[in-house]
């Protein structure tokens, strides 16, 4: 006979300590869906790197990073593209994927009727998204290594940094998705992602903008991710990187609390 202790009060009502069950389910489901589509996500930053690095690189030459060193243009954009693909992957996984499961698959209702709590579900979905991010990041870093774009051994730290960034975007993305009711709402996500991609010192330093615009850019999460990864791959470290990490830690915490609350409001109250 199995000894069952009922969960009582506080966080016990939200947490069974088993988010891995949700991750396993994701992996099992991935086997039956189209793996080539999953794999194709890896190529997006690679194509960008090839196009911008080769073509624009020959027009631009060297670019100064915020750390004050000149690096070849390809080495300037590669870490940024890594951050962008971490963001895109996490956001698409935690929005489109979650939206479908929430509204059409009714998957979470089933999960929450087991011993799993909303925090298990939220964390499990995010961990699953992180696995995919880990795969892409590792592949992209290998390509950067082959092309000689990793300028320092600290580049290996870009992998945990990618996971941090992906975690931050995934936790917030899932909370936002819980408010969406139709497919058309999902288009708004692009309106947030596109300007972040274009302005967050991805393709050129933000010093080209007036100071006011620079502060707005710095308020958005992607800029912190780009600076963090660029610091690691170019090897120009600064104490500021602590702030970038803190930004994401806070973002993850806020996102997790927010998502858990929403899951609870949607399914348990």
């Amino acid at each position: 006979m199995v000894d069952v202790t009922p969960r009582r009060g506080g966080v016990r009502a939200l947490w069974a300590g088993n988010p891995w069950a949700v991750v396993q389910r994701g992996l099992l489901a991935a086997r039956s869906s189209s793996w080539i589509v999953v794999l194709s996500g890896f190529f997006e930053p690679v194509f960008y790197l090839a196009s911008m690095g080769i073509g624009l690189g020959s027009l631009i030459g060297d670019v100064q990073t915020s750390g004050g060193v000149d690096v070849p243009y390809a080495a300037f954009i590669a870490p940024a593209l890594l951050a962008v693909s971490a963001m895109n992957g996490a956001v698409y996984d935690s929005t489109w994927n979650v939206f479908f499961k929430l509204n059409y698959g009714k998957l979470y209702e089933g999960m929450l009727s087991t011993s799993l709590g909303p925090l298990d579900v939220a964390l499990g979905e995010m961990l699953y998204a992180l696995l995919r991010g880990l795969l892409y990041a590792t592949g992209f870093l290998i390509i950067m290594q082959i092309l000689g774009l990793n300028l320092a051994p600290t580049a290996i730290l870009a992998i945990p940094a990618v996971l941090l960034i992906a975690f931050g975007f995934a936790s917030l993305g899932m909370a936002v998705t819980s408010y969406m009711k139709t497919f058309q709402h999902m288009d708004w996500i692009n309106f947030v992602l596109l300007p972040m991609f274009l302005f967050s010192s991805t393709l050129y330093p933000i010093t080209v903008y007036p100071e006011v615009v620079q502060w707005i850019v710095k308020a958005f999460p992607l800029w912190h991710g780009v600076e963090l990864i660029r610091g690691f791959t170019t090897g120009v470290m600064s104490p500021d990187m602590g702030w970038h990490i803190l930004y994401y830690v806070v973002m993850i915490a806020v996102g997790l609390v927010f998502t858990t609350k929403r899951m609870r409001a949607l399914f348990l109250d």
Binding site: S34, E44, F47, S58, L59, I60, L194, L198, L203, Y204
Partner: protein, 293 residues
Amino acid sequence: MSAAEDSRAGASATAVPPTLDELRDEAMAWGRKPRRFGGWYVTEHMVRAMRAYGWTIVIGALGQPVLYLLGMAVGLAALIDAPIIDRGQQVDYLVFVAPALLMTAAIAVASEEFTYPVMAGFKWRRYFFGFSASPIASAQIAGGVVAGAAARMVVTVVLYYLFLWLFGAVPDPATGWLSIFAGLAAGLAFGIPVMAYAASIEDDKGQFALVQRFIFMPMFLFSGTFYPLSELPGWLQWIGWISPLWHATELGRAATYGDGMPPMIGVHIAYLLALAAGGWFLGRHYFERRLAR
């Protein structure tokens, strides 16, 4: 009993009942209008369906050019010191990228309107079979879909052109407006073959995501959009040569720079037309085959 039925009942009581031929003629007369204008009915349906995401279309058509122009023209241009030498002419970076961004916008609309809506018409919502049950012919349904998407493309491209003009990206507005037609041609040259492909797909296994990533993306990145095609090594330049985006961009650049006829104007136009026409024949074939089932 309504008044109309009343009078008909009275007429048939006094006159001879209509012969089969007369009835057939009457039916044909009623079918003639949809037969002749059927494609436009389909277009009307497609355009009305877009109202469901009307705001997305408007915001996208207004917001994207502004964002890209700010990002590329203000940001990247600051890094590129030397002016771009294109076709022996020195131009600002903004002037150089602007036509390519306009063509890309048209192609992006095409990749949206010719994929999932076509799949929905055959598979999920099956409205093409509804059209097909009326006197509308299969080719007219395909034509209606094309015209519907073209309508959205025109809105997007015209708005984009106005923005370019306001940003000072059109040195010669006298011929610059012709780039609107180049944009429409780009969208159709890319979109109609995609429609043919969409009509041939039975099951959605993420094919459109692959089209997006392995056709649209490389085309956008390697077609001389952000720098002249000649900056790419020779083994990558072929992507530009087969890409409708590059051919349309060359036309757009000639129109907005106002430097007269590009040397290969005939090739560019012929290639875009050939893609659209080839896509049309294939697409019509798939529509007919699938709707006849």
